[in-house]
């Protein structure tokens, strides 16, 4: 793992950082809209703040998403000089990545309309979320056979992951109220999570079986070190979640003191950021001949 990281070119480092930024902003934008729809107990201020978060995340996501094209061109060229090379840009734009980025940006624009809070903006934003999820199915391994099945599974996977990431802020925001609405919001998220996370894991397992064939065998590959690093952070998340469930959420219901729960959510966010950064690194450097 250290050798892989030491061998990274500047273009690859930039690509990893942009990919991580894209993961965070795009999933947060989509997840914020999903939670606006699901968390019916949100009060007006919390709802307004979540709409703003969705819109700002969408705008940041557009920037990160668009940066993928010149960075891909730079890789094709072998240096940052390729970021403006017409031929390299053409190859990048007309690749599956280009189509995916275009769909993603269109979806993010739809999501950004949620800030206007008009009658028509919520369905437009939901369509944007769907388009963003579909954009992830337009590139990479999602385009392999059986394409329809893989694309569907990837869309489900992204929607469920977005829900998870997009839940942090509204829970954090509402928890400080310390009232019944706060507790009901946490409960509502937990109920929805049972379904969404079920979909997340089932889609992930089926995708793994379709593409890798033997899930056990793939664990013997060199990238296992990255996997172990990610699992270590996941273990931290599990510990925090257990703490939330067994101690902090009951404390919120009984005492109205949300401080410990909010602190725990902050640590969960940090852990999730590390997971996404590790994933961006991992999926960009796993094999010498495969850098995207």
């Amino acid at each position: 793992m250290g050798g892989v990281l030491a061998a990274l070119e500047p273009v690859q480092i930039a690509s990893i950082l942009v990919k991580a930024g894209m993961y965070v902003s795009v999933l947060l934008a989509a997840g914020s809209v999903i939670n606006l729809w699901l968390l019916t107990e949100l009060d007006a201020p919390a709802s307004r703040r979540l709409r703003r978060l969705a819109a700002w995340s969408a705008f940041v996501g557009i920037v990160f998403s668009a940066l993928n094209i010149p960075l891909r061109a730079a890789f094709f060229y072998g240096g940052f000089g390729g970021a403006l090379d017409p031929m390299m840009l053409q190859v990048a734009l007309f690749s599956p990545l280009g189509l995916s980025v275009e769909a993603e940006i269109l979806g993010l624009l739809g999501i950004a309309t949620i800030a206007l809070n008009r009658g028509w903006t919520r369905p437009v934003a939901v369509l944007g979320v769907i388009l963003v999820a579909i954009s992830f199915a337009l590139r990479g391994h999602a385009t392999e056979d059986p394409r329809l099945a893989l694309a569907t599974l990837f869309v489900i996977h992204i929607l469920a992951a977005s829900f998870w990431i997009g839940g942090f802020y509204p829970l954090y925001d509402m928890a400080r109220r310390g009232n019944e609405a706060a507790w009901r919001t946490v409960e509502r998220f937990g109920q929805a999570a049972l379904v969404m996370v079920g979909l997340l894991v089932v889609a992930g397992v089926v995708i793994l079986v379709i593409l890798a064939g033997d899930p056990i065998a793939v664990l013997t590959q060199p990238w296992g070190q990255f996997l172990m690093l990610k699992l270590a952070v996941v273990a931290l998340l599990l510990g925090l979640a257990g703490l939330n469930k067994l101690r902090l959420t009951p404390a919120l219901a009984e005492t109205g003191n949300a401080g410990p729960l909010r602190a725990s959510i902050r640590w969960e966010v940090a852990a999730f950021l590390v997971i996404l950064l590790v994933t961006a690194t991992f999926t960009s450097t796993v094999a010498p001949e495969h850098v995207g």
């Binding site: 060229y77 390299m88 894991v201 793939v218 996941v234 991992f282």
Partner: protein, 120 residues
């Protein structure tokens, strides 16, 4: 909350495993001419990159024993080919290294390198 987190964590791990397992498969099925480690004559005029599926080769460079790096010209970057033929400059005896970059049919950026020698 705990069950949700466990399931999410498992799914994220699976997703990461999936990405890597499939990614490694992209390195298979490629050949070069000259082959890696091969010794060729100074009269060698071309090089080939051969793939099982059509590839878009965007950049090929050659590091020569004189310390210079030469750009190798071949089919245009926006053309997908199974065999990419590049015209080599005049070769002097010594060790050479070829680096190439391109894109697979499913859009994955690819790169690789190989070395060969030119006999005295």
């Amino acid at each position: 909350m705990k069950l949700r987190t466990i399931l999410t964590s498992a799914a994220l791990s699976v997703g990461m495993a999936l990405s890597a397992g499939a990614a490694l498969a992209h390195g298979k099925g490629m050949m070069t001419m000259p082959g890696n480690g091969q010794t060729v004559g100074a009269d060698t005029k071309v090089m080939h990159l051969m793939f099982t599926d059509p590839m878009q080769i965007t950049t090929v460079t050659m590091a020569a024993p004189d310390g210079k790096t030469y750009k190798i010209n071949g089919p245009a970057a926006n053309q997908a080919v199974k065999t990419w033929e590049g015209k080599l400059p005049k070769l002097a005896p010594g060790s050479y290294k070829i680096d190439w970059r391109g894109m697979s049919p499913d859009g994955h950026p690819m790169n690789g390198s190989f070395a060969f020698k030119v006999a005295n």
